[in-house]
Symmetry: C2
Subunit: 457 residues, 2 copies
């Protein structure tokens, strides 16, 4: 009998008050208002590591949500991802108090120079001993563009073209600039690094010109584990070429599987293997010792949920609250002058009314990967996600910080361990990529590998 | 009798093997090769805080020294500031294991967007509870420019013009964007921040266009304590307008004092007060329990010192080792086609020979603020620096990590405490600016203050 498939578990986080479970920061004893304190992060990290989880996955935005009702007011009132902190800077604090926990961090390829970002990620990879991953995004907020000197966003597909060159620069710096044995550290000979093994990259491209050499000596993973959250055609092609872990979702199993298959196809078409891409989904897990405890939690979360927060976050191009509750979502879409296949339509079942849509939004249970129940029920459902749906892991949505993580650690982890779905202990010194793929470095078939040893620069 | 003037003591650091004491990384038990490990920083920070020091001051460069002998080879061999790490990212680790220690970090205004940097510094100010300072630089390495898409450096004075607008953007974000009482954190009313008290900045200037609002809510200092290392006329004018602590040096007392006076004049001409600028000098302190222990240390450091490292770092526009030792530095300068008043000339005494210059460089004792002796001798000298020369503090040059700091803490601090020159204990909760100037926020006469309350945006 083969070993059961293991579940990857990351805590889904963001350095802000209201990340995705809008309104719930108001729950009693929620610590979310402490997001700007170091101790918030060190406590969370220790809790996650004591519980045997894989990592903390940090979302990010570099602008405000300012389209709902014509401005950022709702986002500001709700603490909806503003104020926030730079997520790169909470990682060293969490790394200081842990040994094994991984860190995934979101950073956009659209607004900041690749040379500086390459150095920052290498710094994190060095300091954490190879425990970092990068969630590649191209940004989608118009306010973000205006914070960085642009009048509005760069069009979607062009952002991915820039991202593609951005990664090419990073690969040259991370894999090509320093040979594996460049650092000699020989006090007797007086040689710290061997100049013959450190290379300028002299990248000259359409969007970037970067001389090098890279400033950071080889780190455990060289390239941080490459995450990406995507679904669009340009995004899928990009993921097929570059990404190792796709963070995705889907209303239905079919949605998820068709997305996953398209990305695996894209990877194959780039000379990579289907297994080179793993899939982590955002999951909502509400667990209790009894059915009534579960029901109480669900009720409490629904009670505290803020529809305004959800709507301001959703980026709907119209105010859905302005339509009668018994009218159809599809009619509102048409009324707003949008095409019938607009993404908003796909978020709800066919024929959904405005009232149903609002209820679904408010409950924030709008996708396949949601379960509420006792540990046995939750574990049964997660096993289905793993074995039938084909996911590799979850980014755990936090309803309450730190109760959501504590509940998962105390109630779900033991049950999943009994079933062989979560390891009994960490492997000492393991890098994040080793944990996901068994090796610290990218395989030779990944495009980053072509620059190794200073080749093809 | 007035209280004696207190000494500010920072450890001068850089996340690299060979920062300024070239060759000394090879000393027995030196920990410099551990600069890319988290524990290097947490140990250093704890040592400094246990010893009652004020802070860790982190230098930085974003390129390689590549002019000496026509390339970066010497720098790479010597570990001369390459490889290195992003210094911003070691601060959260040090902050995690300390309560009072301050952190000064170098960042250049020339290559990265102000919106992102404003957020990073605010993040650090929040996470550290107001313990951060920023050493403002405009960068001087040609390789750095080429790492960020330029063909060569932007001319010196133009860099300062850019820096001036850069700071204006930062001030708007840091001081103007969020009112003091913008964060409400009221779970009952469901208001995290009050939208009426959060302002876009809509900066449109010659070099930058930035919408805002700032993404980080008010932090203890708002503006990190503003350090600057400078001496040029453009630098002095800039310091007079913006800087609170100038990091400077000087071959002689007269050099130091004339520099300091020019900066105080510049501050006054900008409507600030002469006392609004403090002066911290780079100092070499070699201390031992006996004279012979001191002599042994000096001899050891000179033995391990690397002249090649010093020269590659010096940025001399010619190879000083190529001239006969008995010829004059001034002749070499003329021979290299440089003006007689070239900065190189000012580094040495008038009439110095090449041999004398090389010896002085190798010994790395080329300025006024160097002392070697027993604790009493050292303390006497430091009191002179404070009372006669007029410095406010020192950035302690490390010859050996961690022995230099350990020696200072064990031998010099107790002696200076006896003389009332170093506080007996930290003031709990004190911000870095409070420690230097008695208040967490900049005074009203500083140009950053004009944006408070969203005014003048």
């Amino acid at each position: 009998m083969p070993e059961p498939k293991r579940l990857i578990v990351n805590v889904f986080e963001m350095a802000c008050v209201s990340h995705i479970t809008h309104g719930l920061w108001r729950l009693p004893d929620n610590n979310r208002h402490r997001f700007a304190e170091l101790s918030y992060w060190t406590e969370l990290a220790q809790l996650a590591e004591q519980g045997g989880l894989d990592g903390i996955f940090l979302a990010d935005v570099v602008g405000a949500y300012d389209t709902f009702r014509g401005g950022p007011e709702t986002a500001i009132r709700e603490g909806l991802q503003i104020p926030n902190l730079d997520p790169l800077l909470v990682i060293p604090a969490m790394a200081t108090v842990t040994q094994h926990l991984g860190f995934g961090v979101t950073f956009s390829t659209t607004y900041e120079p690749p040379f500086a970002f390459a150095r920052r990620m290498s710094t994190l990879d060095a300091l954490t001993g190879g425990r970092v991953g990068w969630n590649i995004v191209t940004s989608y907020l118009s306010n973000a563009a205006r914070n960085f000197g642009l009048e509005d966003q760069i069009p979607h597909d062009e952002r991915y073209q820039i991202a593609d060159e951005y990664l090419d620069v990073l690969y040259k710096l991370w894999e090509g600039s320093w040979d594996d044995d460049a650092v000699v550290n020989d006090p007797v000979a007086g040689i710290y690094s061997d100049p013959a093994k450190v290379h300028a990259i002299n990248h000259v491209g359409k969007h970037f010109t970067v001389a090098g050499p890279h400033l950071v000596a080889p780190t455990p993973q060289r390239v941080p584990l490459l995450f990406q959250a995507t679904g669009s055609p340009a995004g899928i092609a990009f993921a097929g070429k570059h990404s190792e872990v796709v963070f995705t979702g889907g209303r239905t199993v079919e949605d998820f599987q068709s997305n996953a298959n398209r990305m695996r196809d894209a990877a194959e078409s780039q000379g990579r293997e289907r297994g080179d891409v793993k899939f982590v989904v955002q999951a909502g897990v509400i667990v209790g010792r009894t059915e009534s405890e579960v029901a109480d939690k669900e009720r409490l979360f629904q009670e505290y949920s803020s529809l305004d927060g959800v709507l301001a976050h959703s980026g709907f191009p119209f105010d859905i609250t302005a339509y009668p509750h018994d009218s159809l979502v599809s009619d509102a879409i048409a009324d707003a002058g949008l095409p019938a296949e607009h993404p908003v339509a796909k978020r709800f079942a066919e024929g959904a009314t405005i009232g149903q849509a609002l209820e679904e939004l408010r409950h924030q249970r709008h996708d396949r990967f949601y379960v509420a129940g006792t540990p046995k029920v939750v574990a049964d459902e997660i096993e289905k996600w793993l074995d039938e749906d084909g996911i590799d892991g979850i980014n755990l949505r936090q309803y309450h910080s730190y109760d959501t993580v504590r509940d998962f650690v105390e109630l779900v982890v033991p049950e999943l361990r009994r079933r062989g779905r979560i390891r009994e202990e960490y492997t000492p010194g393991e890098t994040l990529r080793e944990r996901y793929f068994g090796a610290s470095r990218l395989p030779e078939r990944h495009p980053a590998a072509r620059y190794r040893g200073g080749k093809n620069l």
